[in-house]
């Protein structure tokens, strides 16, 4: 337990770090998403960045210019004042009788005292004169500690006989060290080399430069914020109508056809709103028209349905009674009763199919899809079709995958499709075998129905779904189909978002393939089974449909 604790802590720490990193990433993504989605935010950020860069560059240039100017003026004044002092000291030294170091020192002291009292345009200053031969200050400096603080490089240069200046941080009399301008000049004399140093503190200049700098920074910041604010405001003026338009478009799309945009003023946005509203009004008009038509059509279909079905019911019942009593009739009358019975069946089928397809034409068909297992559904259809297949000498074979295939379907419609395909195969299969195959993948299910009849060419295969189309008018009328079965089946498949396709080759039979998405609303990308039969799909079938061969 105890030994595992540190690693436990570490794990926990790792976990926390990972958690934090994850949260940071999520937050970052959220910000990025917000940035991508909001035009206003983006404009604000971009203007802020651009304005910020411009302000920084301008302030830097401005500040540098002000600094150069201020310091330049000070420098010129300081150098000219120092020059005056140096000239004065040189004259004083020249006037001293030579060879008397003591009197020279006195003269120098006097000169320095004299110079110290003189004011100048360069403001306050400190002054000191040193003798190169005696390392101590020759004269009393303005305050203690001034002499040793003189920058070495300056002292060296002056010692070589040049008059020069330098910026350095120098102590002040009793105050803190401040940046200063130090001017040095040699004062030659017979008794050794003297050097005169002026120290001009720049603290005032520094203070005023600092003031200027903070003013520049503050106004720059204010400017940046202002510009960003203006950007955001202007964008908002443009974006909020656009957002409103987007929202209204969404509402229109979701069916609230009466939604419109408010029109304010006479600008471009108002024109946009105007065009938008005109578009919406035109859409609404057309949709309402279509809806009215569809309603009318549906109403008509429903009326026809009722009006036709009621007399048909009477006829049907009458025909049934005649049919069941036909043994008592003369042969011709009995045969007539039989014909009446069978043709009524066809008539009913035709009526049902016509009404169904007119419902599709009116756009009135709606899908009630629930998850259903396809295998048992196919088996049901094949079992029901088995007697007819038997009668025609055809055998129905079914191949199901090992795993159940479950799809969101309307079982009534899918059964109708499969019934149509199977009956079609029985009618056109010339008594050969009929193979039905089911296969599913992760997104789709496919069912193929294969017959080995005379087949059809590709032109015929493309027309089999046409209404009332018959491949061979002389032969197929015996089939008893209404000629609408495959058209309805294709509509049924489309309603599911699925495909119904046909393949055929003369002499090799035909194959129909139904492909359905497993989940409604998902676009089909492919089919788990090929449309054209391959060697693989013509493998022996392990399951034979019908009551005798049904899989347990």
């Amino acid at each position: 337990m105890t030994t595992s604790r540190p690693s436990g802590w570490r794990t926990r720490l790792d976990g926390v770090v990972r958690e934090l990193r994850l949260r940071a990433r999520i937050a970052g993504r959220a910000v990025w998403l917000q940035y991508r989605r909001s035009l206003q935010l983006r404009v604000a950020v971009i203007t802020m960045a651009v304005a910020g860069a411009v302000v920084i560059v301008i302030s830097l240039i401005l500040f540098e210019q002000i600094r150069t100017q201020q310091l330049g003026a000070k420098k010129d004044a300081a150098i000219s004042q120092a020059q005056v002092g140096v000239d004065y000291a040189r004259n004083q030294v020249v006037a001293v009788p030579s060879g008397d170091p003591r009197s020279i020192r006195l003269t120098m002291q006097r000169t320095v005292d004299e110079l110290r009292t003189r004011g100048g345009s360069a403001g306050q200053f400190a002054i000191v004169m040193i003798n190169r031969d005696t390392p101590t200050a020759l004269t009393q400096p303005s305050f203690a500690g001034l002499t040793p603080a003189l920058p070495d490089s300056l002292v060296t240069e002056v010692g070589e006989g040049t008059q020069t200046y330098q910026y350095a941080v120098m102590p002040t009399d009793g105050g803190p060290a401040v940046p200063s301008l130090v001017v040095g000049a040699p004062v030659p004399s017979q008794s050794g080399s003297y050097e005169l140093y002026y120290v001009f503190p720049l603290d005032q200049e520094q203070r005023s430069l600092e003031d200027i700098r903070s003013t520049v920074v503050a106004s720059g910041l204010a400017l940046v914020v202002l510009v960003a604010g203006i950007g955001a405001l202007v964008t908002r003026l443009v974006v909020s109508p656009v957002r409103l338009a987007a929202q209204t478009a969404e509402q229109l799309a979701s069916g609230q056809l009466e939604r419109r945009l408010p029109i304010r003023g006479d600008d471009d946005l108002a024109r946009l709103a105007g065009s938008f509203n005109r578009m919406a009004a035109s859409l609404q008009r057309q949709i309402t028209q279509l809806e009215d038509l569809s309603r009318l059509q549906q109403r008509f279909t429903s009326d026809v349905s009722h009006e036709l079905r009621t007399p048909l019911t009477t006829v049907r019942m009458a025909a049934d009674i005649l049919h069941s009593a036909r043994v008592d009739f003369a042969p011709d009358v009995a045969r007539s009763a039989e014909l009446l019975q069978t043709e009524l069946g066809r008539f009913e089928g035709l009526l049902t199919d016509l009404l169904e397809i007119s419902r599709y034409d009116a756009g009135a068909a709606s899908l009630v899809a629930e998850p259903n297992e396809l295998g048992p559904l196919i088996q049901r259809v094949l079992t029901a079709a088995d007697p007819l297949a038997h009668q025609r000498g055809a055998t129905l074979r079914l191949r199901l995958p090992d795993d159940p295939v479950i799809a969101e379907i309307d079982p009534r419609r899918v059964e109708r499709i499969l019934r149509n395909l199977t009956l079609n195969a029985i009618h056109h299969g010339d008594g050969g075998g009929i193979e039905v195959t089911l296969r599913g993948n992760r997104s789709a299910a496919a069912i193929t129905v294969r017959d080995h009849g005379p087949g059809m060419n590709s032109e015929e295969a493309s027309r089999v779904f046409d209404r009332f189309w018959r491949a061979d008018p002389a032969r197929s009328r015996h089939g008893g189909g209404t000629g609408l079965g495959l058209s309805i089946s294709r509509e049924d498949a489309r309603l599911h978002g699925g495909w119904l396709q046909a393949w055929g080759r003369p002499g090799e039979g035909a194959q129909f393939r139904l492909t359905l998405p497993l989940v409604q609303g998902v676009e089909l990308e492919g089919s788990p089974l090929p449309l054209e039969p391959t060697a693989e799909t013509s493998d022996p079938y392990d399951v034979v449909a019908g009551p005798t061969g049904a899989r347990p």
């Binding site: 429903s302 349905s305 009722h306 079905r309 009621t310 007399p311 048909l312 019911t313 009477t314 006829v315 049907r316 019942m317 009458a318 049934d320 009674i321 009913e348 049901r380 009534r412």
Partner: protein, 231 residues
Amino acid sequence: MGTMIGARSRVLVVDDDPSLAEMLGIVLRAEGLEPAFVADGGRAVSAFREVRPDLVLLDLMLPGADGLQICREIRQESLVPIIMLTAKADTVDVVRGLEAGADDYVVKPFKPIELVARIRAQMRRTDTDHPETLAIGEVSIDVAGHQVRRGETPILLTPLEFDLLVALARKPRQVFTREHLLEQVWGYRHAADTRLVNVHVQRLRSKVEIDPEHPEVVLTVRGVGYKAGPP
């Protein structure tokens, strides 16, 4: 109340189409039933009171009268089986008709055999002479006496609702699929409209449950069907 044993069962045909009504009469008579007719939807309910039929055949699309309304009015005063005649099977009309109290429906055009089978199924309701009492929760069922009570309060069920409840109560552990119930209660041999079961379970629940939203007597088994609540 009730017809005498051996008497011909009366069927009231509510249909405005004279030919169809006449044809229905021929078929019903051939089956040993005694038909009565009313063509005017407005007179349907009063005709029902006069005739006191054992079953009603009701055309849903009567011009000038609402078939659903007639259905509701008959159901308010009687538990007699009602079979709708409708031209459309896959519309909400059927569900509305079932909700209005109809027990079953036949889609036009139908064969005489079909119609007769539906009528027979509705008339041949559970009849047992030996006493049998079932219970689901607080609901007790006296099968021979055709009586259902919650505690001491009697609950009025139509014969179909009664049969549905008895079917569930007799096998309390079994889950019934809708297809199974269609076969056992409605007498359908082949696959039929499972909405029949859904609507009638709802109707039954509205009568026997304390809170139909949270049923305790007739339980839904998701994806399978229904079963009786614990006894």
